[in-house]
């Protein structure tokens, strides 16, 4: 089977603009492949280059070495088959929620009437019917995330790249959003790369968890298939014995890397 998305031996070295001698290799020789319809989480300690890897997959960042293949085709420029959910605020603050959701369709030249219908439909699906005319600053953090989700999913991307999308939310809102994400995902199984530093979140959502080593020169050090049954409820599944077993196994492998990352940050 051809992978929906394949990162092959990716290395990313950043060079300081002021001093060419100063370089930082965030990711070295990292490979990751995602099957069609698969939900893969990438976990790792802070500062281990998770976002770098995702930006490479999105085509926003050209790797120093290695290649990206989308359904077997080498990627050039922006990955048009992918939708990207950013960690920080990415909505256009000068557009209302409705206009933000419709933005991608507008950029693609969809007729305004059709775009408006779809945007309203998606606002309803993420539970924001009636909030379409609000500007981002008038919405709560959770609502803004929903708008972002609708903004990305309305384009029906085959690959969904998510960079700690719920990190800024409180625990309750976060679990609600995770369940909503699973529900939306199960409707039409996209390939998902979900970046997080939260192991519990990773296990409860994914089919497979990839652990990255601490940076610099971080690379995958372990892969774990998650055989928990679906459909899942993220708040309940955390209590099941199998979940705890998997968690212990992955945490055991991750712990050293987390401590390493922590020590590096303290320097």
């Amino acid at each position: 089977m051809i992978a929906a998305l394949a990162l092959e031996n990716i290395t990313c070295t950043f060079v300081s603009r002021d001093n060419r001698q100063q370089r930082y290799t965030a990711v070295r020789d990292a490979s990751l492949s995602v099957a069609p319809g698969e939900f893969v989480s990438v976990v790792g300690p802070t500062g281990c280059g998770k976002t770098t890897l995702l930006n490479v997959a999105a085509g926003l960042l050209a790797p120093s070495a290695g290649s990206v293949r989308v359904r077997g085709e080498p990627l050039e420029g922006i990955n048009a088959r992918a939708g990207y959910l950013f960690q920080s605020e990415a909505l256009m603050p000068w557009r209302s929620a409705f206009e933000n959701v419709a933005a991608g369709l507008e950029f693609r030249g969809v007729a305004p009437a059709a775009a408006a219908g779809m945007a309203n439909d998606w606002l309803k699906r993420v539970g924001l019917a009636g909030f379409g005319d609000r500007y981002p600053h008038q919405l709560s953090g959770g609502m803004r995330k929903r708008v972002s989700l609708a903004q990305t999913l309305i384009l029906d991307p085959k690959i969904l790249l998510m960079d700690e999308p719920f990190a800024a939310l409180d625990v309750q809102t976060r679990q609600l959003m995770e369940n909503e994400l699973l529900e939306l995902w199960s409707a039409d199984r996209k390939s998902v790369v979900f970046i997080t530093h939260d192991l519990e979140e990773a296990i409860s959502l994914s089919d497979r968890v990839v652990v990255l080593s601490a940076g610099p020169e971080s690379h995958p050090i372990g892969e774990y298939a998650i055989d928990l049954p679906r459909p899942r409820d993220v708040s309940e599944i955390r209590l099941s014995p199998r979940f705890i077993e998997i968690h212990a196994e992955i945490w055991h492998a991750m712990k050293d890397e987390v401590l390493k990352g922590y020590a590096q940050q303290r320097q």
């Binding site: 926003l60 922006i78 605020e89 990415a90 256009m92 933005a103 950029f107 600053h137 384009l155």
Partner: protein
């Protein structure tokens, strides 16, 4: 609502302050109301500072007799042209340079130099190039307005949130669409901040240009009056110009409120 009550009180105080200033002016310059404190001749205060009632009657005569309209028209045309040309060119070149790092690196010292230069010294050159008519005043105003708008747009475009930009690219925006839907709206808040300054400077360009050489315009009227030591007319000209500068500034505010509805304002709760 509470805030409107506050507003009314504020307006009353503002009007009272204006009244107090005018009263002080009137009493201080009248030859009969106060004994001469400083000047040996009781008419001297009025000679130097004018008299508010005479200033008002001068303004009234200007508008009632129709003498002012031709001059006001010329000055306003100069100001608005300078404002429009300076703003649009500042906007265009600011956006271009902010997105062309090489060109901006090459031009950087020249832009800094031009900005540091007291640009009114260009007036004689503009008079040679464009003559004594409207064009030379517009040129002076443009040099003043351009740099303010330019620097703000340049800053505004460079401070576009990289995440918003990446998001728009992932949503499929072409470079043109990025310009139209991301760079421009993001720069607009900076542009509007600069437009309030620019209105005033467009007036400065027009009036100073008229002082230096012209045959019509409010600046010309003021210069003529000064030549005959008619201080009341000078003050009348100042009052008229200030009033129209305020009107233009108010129009900028109106446009800002219409275009910038998306901006968060502090204390947006409603008091019930």
């Amino acid at each position: 609502m509470r805030s409107s009550g506050n507003n009314l009180a504020l307006r009353v105080w503002q009007a009272l302050l204006l009244g107090a200033i005018l009263a002080f002016w009137h009493v201080g310059t009248s030859p009969t109301l106060l004994p001469p404190l400083y000047f040996d001749n009781p008419d001297k205060a009025a000679f130097f500072f004018g008299e508010p009632l005479t200033v008002l009657s001068r303004i009234w005569n200007w508008f009632y007799g129709g003498e002012i309209y031709r001059h006001l028209y010329v000055t306003l045309v100069e100001t608005i042209l300078a404002f429009a040309v300076g703003t649009l060119s500042g906007l265009a070149i600011g956006i271009w340079l902010a997105r062309a790092p090489l060109a901006s690196a090459i031009l950087d010292p020249y832009i800094k130099g031009l900005n540091a230069m007291p640009r009114l010294i260009l007036a004689p050159i503009f008079f040679v190039w464009f003559g004594l008519g409207i064009a030379s005043k517009v040129a002076i105003g443009v040099t003043l307005v351009f740099f303010i708008v330019f620097f703000n747009v340049y800053q505004g475009v460079r401070e576009v949130s990289p995440v918003v930009l990446d998001n728009a690219r992932m949503l499929g925006a072409s470079p043109r669409q990025l310009l139209r839907h991301v760079y421009l709206p993001s720069a607009m808040s900076w542009v509007f901040a600069s437009l309030h300054n620019s209105v005033g400077l467009a007036f400065v360009g027009a009036v100073v240009g008229e002082y230096l050489g012209s045959s019509e315009g409010v600046g010309y009227l003021i210069l003529q009056a000064e030549g005959t030591f008619d201080i009341n007319t000078v003050f009348a000209g100042i009052v008229v110009l200030t009033a129209f500068a305020l009107v233009l500034d108010w129009m900028v505010t109106l446009a800002e409120e219409r275009l910038m509805v998306w901006q968060p304002r502090s204390g947006e709760t409603e008091r019930l």
